[in-house]
Symmetry: C2
Subunit: 165 residues, 2 copies
DNA sequence: TAAAAGTTTCAGAAATATTTGAAAGTATAA
DNA sequence: TTATACTTTCAAATATTTCTGAAACTTTTA
């Protein structure tokens, strides 16, 4: 397989993967493209290589910067802006898990905590409800703890953990 | 907060959470409703309580059964079908991670493995490409291993692991 | 066998999400 | 200051996903 074909394949697959994880295709593909290029790219470069409109590239680059996985590099003597992403997979994983924790786990923890305050006539029904949601809360808190640990640790911690499995 | 209000809140939140994880809202809400009820429910019960069409309920119940998290209970002397979900959060988590592994991690592993066969004139570029995608492959394989372990282990293994963190 | 009770399917409608491109905005250079 | 080079915004167009409901299908009962 030719390099360019492999690159396209990877960019395409990364986009598809993103979609099934609530990250839109364009965003995932821009990330993939940056991951594969050694210099930082301008908006025009990205527009051309991925055949996307200016607005789309601009919006998704901004989203990637919000996630903390793409940065703007200003080149001296160049007025245009250039963008790049870190090549360190570990760092990427940490950053993504940190953001997803904040955006998705925290809200559900709030709801679960909140509904623990339910009350009503039928004591048994209330108890059953609290049992299920309480179990869910407990489990979620544990997962949350693991992710927090993960997103604050270094690569070494992770490799050590692997050996313990 | 009244029990019924708390239930609705939970069902609503579960639906929203599902959406950001590639699980559609109706599917997540049906699951939440089943999670909160002690007897199994018929399609009509679900249609009424969630205000959804018959087709929608039918399709999503089937999807939930495909995921292995909802089952059909036939009641003796009743012609209608009833559905229920397990209340064990641990078991639910195992089942979900098992399915997501199969549906999402496996395809990306295939692509990453596949593109390792890239070749081309520019040796340096090929090497760089393989470095990045190879790192990603390695990392993904590790995560895959953890999830596999998790989805085959019992609750006790998980709690032991927690203490090691 | 026919009617009744239930389930499944699927084409089209509705709702959501994404993308475009042109206009407005901003910063730098002349 | 004005022209130029670039970035941002956002309303409308497009694409995708989800939902509906009626018709087709299946199973049970009379």
């Amino acid at each position: 397989m030719e390099l360019s074909e492999a690159k396209n394949k990877f960019i395409e697959a990364w986009g598809t993967l993103g979609s099934s994880w609530g990250i839109n295709k364009a965003m995932a593909q821009i990330h993939a493209l940056l991951l594969l290029s050694n210099e930082s790219l301008s908006m025009e470069d990205i527009m051309e290589q991925l055949q996307m409109s200016r607005g789309n590239v601009n919006m998704n680059l901004r989203a990637l910067m919000d996630w903390g996985i793409v940065k703007k590099d200003l080149r001296v003597g160049e007025r245009k802006e250039f963008f790049s992403t870190g090549k360190d997979v570990w760092e990427l994983a940490r950053q993504v898990s940190k953001e997803r924790r904040r955006r998705e786990i925290e809200p559900i923890l709030n709801v679960l905590q909140n509904v623990q305050g339910a009350s009503g006539e039928n004591k048994k029904a209330v108890a059953e409800f609290k049992k299920v949601t309480g179990d869910l809360l407990n489990f979620s808190l544990k997962i949350d703890g693991i992710i927090e640990k993960f997103s604050k640790s270094d690569q070494n911690w992770f490799y050590k953990l692997l050996t313990k499995l």
